[in-house]
Amino acid sequence: MSSENALLEEYAQREYEHGFITDIEADSIPAGLSEEVVRLISQKKNEPEWLLEWRLKAYRHWLTLEEPKWHNVKYPPIDYQASVYYSAPVQKPKLNSLDEVDPVLLETYEKLGIPLEEQKMLANVAVDAVFDSVSIVTTFRETLEKHGVIFCPFSEAVHRFPELVQKYLGSVVPYSDNFFASLNSAVFSDGSFCYIPKGVRCPMELSTYFRINAQNTGQFERTLIVAEEGSYVSYLEGCTAPKRDENQLHAAVVELVAMEDAQIKYSTVQNWYPGDSEGKGGIYNFVTKRGACRGDNSQISWTQVETGSAITWKYPSVILQGDNSVGEFYSVAVTANHQQADTGTKMIHIGKNTKSTIISKGISAGVGQNSYRGEVKIMKGATNARNFSQCDSLLIGDKCGAHTFPYIEVRNTTGKVEHEASTSKVGEDQIYYLRQRGLPTEDAVNMIVNGFCKEVYDVLPMEFAVEARKLLNVSLEGSVG
């Protein structure tokens, strides 16, 4: 209907509020990628020989790979030689307290709404702040260490807990896994390391806040979380970047390991710069996230709210090895303007009585393209495995697209796989109804969209849910005429 189009035509404009640039001196290496650059990164981080070797293996493997083409996203060829692979704000090498952090950096996080000063911290959230290539500060470390919980920058863990890092690094996402994971393995700069010892329930939410600042710089962080037998941890991840006209590459790897009876809850609110309304600039977000339910009765939940990035390419997955293990994936992905997303999950059922749940909500506005891609695999030994998938798409306007690519492979006859999918439009009828009750159009659309995402918000930690709701409202702001 024409009035609907007129109403939704402008569903394109959005303001990105984290688009400022921090003016700080950076120690960057020249653009380009080579074995020499890999060595240089390793050297800058004063890494042990084994890690350098691992990086080099990854780099050499990467050279043999081609960028994947199977995804439903389009972008001009990426010049991997044009990117800077290491950039760190110049500051004192070792930070033991916030007093030693450059005030300019603290201010940056303050502006982003992530106050790092402990007295002003959100109650019970420990934050690791990663700025470009390095972690600048981790809060609440002492409290955590009292409980035996390790939460520190990845580069520090390499030195302090080499056995743990060596044991688990690449154990879920091998360096040869895929093009972007190999690239990350070769050049990753920092990230968070988290270890929850046996029987410990982590006393607070752990959170890493990623910020890309420097120009032409790729961010390649690596997160590794190990939850020992009977432990529990809830981990939150947030991301922003300045507005820049050129595209920037972000290729992260996250590995989760859950032992017997352990539970890991991993939540992401991804708000990288999405590019402007013409589709100029924005982050290319190619991320590999995977968790292994190694032990019996273990559980891994991925919850993601993806509102940013020009391109989102990620499939947080769970390998259900332990008997009775549980994998969950809850996702809200928004593509407005010229954003493209190809995202979903893989649930690989290996153990008996394993169970997985997939709830995916894709929202497309403007000329955004949103694809759900998911794979459910039930292996031979996975007796009585269960999967339930639900993929819902919501379209706003008539120039955007929603696509669903489910792959199902069942090799055990006792397996039960359910898949439900729906596509709906934010209807003129709905908007009219809500406006007739006194809600302005924008509030009406926000209400409809937030209602659509409810099942996912319900599983997000409280503060994150509030944040996600706000973010979604901002993302779609001004989109309706």
């Binding site: 209907m1 009035s3 109403l7 209807g427 003129e428 009828d429 709905q430 009219y432 109804y433 809500l434 406006r435 007739q436 009750r437 006194g438 809600l439 302005p440 159009t441 509030d443 209400m447 409809i448 937030n450 209602g451 659509f452 995402c453 409810k454 099942e455």
Partner: protein, 254 residues
């Protein structure tokens, strides 16, 4: 309160309203009856501001203001309420949340303080009782999975909560059994007041046994062809609409 003068409206190429004249004063209940396709629902939606219609002629004054110049939500905030014939489902949004958001939106527009949690809960409890609705309905998504009768009751609940100045009920009786009809009518009657105007759009006389109108108008072919008191509704019940359509044609021919 409401004055409609020579209102003409069309949807795409079809002219539906062909010169409506109607005055509703505060405190009055007007019934608009007529056969299917006569333009009853169109009139209701034109007053609410639905954008599918083009107003080609005429004017509508509401509380001294040009109603046709106001946005849909502005009309709502100024006290115009439409109970829908086909209420819309909003998935994932609880009835309670929706009601509170609507009340506060209207209050914000009128520079009034937002409703307190306590006041809201107390008011909701009272209105639910009035309509014989269970409070569990409030945690369900707006109209989702509601039966026809539940949806209609939910409309009247919203009306009771929003306390409009001008309430328009579009075929609220359709799809209701006699018990539901009685309860809904009771809810509407409770809202009758000297400050409030009510327009009841209906096909059947049945509803008017419970909501007794001050005036009855018969709409046919996009015009009001007859007006009278409640006895007009009974006359229609007796003779059906057929005799009117002849009359309407006669008027149209003139």
């Amino acid at each position: 309160m409401l004055e409609i003068k020579n209102l003409h409206a069309r949807s795409e190429d079809t002219e539906i309203l062909k010169g409506i004249n109607l005055t509703v004063n505060a405190g009055e209940v007007h019934a608009i009856m007529g056969p299917n396709g006569s333009g009853k629902s169109t009139l209701a939606h034109v007053l609410a501001g639905r954008e599918d219609y083009e107003i080609t002629e005429g004017e509508v004054t509401y509380e001294g203001k040009d109603l046709l110049d106001m946005e849909i939500e502005e009309r709502a905030a100024e006290g115009v309420f439409l109970a829908y014939q086909y209420p819309v489902e909003i998935s994932g949004v609880s009835n309670k949340y929706f009601l509170k958001a609507a009340i506060n939106s209207i209050r914000k527009h009128n520079d009034q303080p937002l409703i307190s949690r306590g006041d809201f809960v107390a008011m909701l409890k009272e209105k639910l009782a009035l309509l014989g609705m269970d409070k569990s309905m409030m945690d369900r998504s707006v109209n989702e999975g509601f039966s026809g009768g539940e949806k209609k009751r939910n409309e009247i609940l919203q009306m009771a909560m929003l306390e409009p100045k001008l309430a328009i009920l579009d075929e609220t009786d359709s799809g209701l059994d006699i018990d539901a009809l009685k309860i809904v009518s009771q809810g509407v009657n409770a809202l009758r007041s000297p400050e409030r105007g009510i327009i009841v759009v209906t096909h059947y006389q049945r509803l008017l046994e419970y909501i007794v109108p001050d005036k009855v108008h018969v709409l046919a072919g996009g015009k009001i062809v007859r007006s009278g008191d409640k006895s007009l509704a009974l006359e229609l019940e007796d003779k059906g609409y057929s005799f009117l359509s002849e009359g309407a044609e006669a008027i149209a021919a003139n």
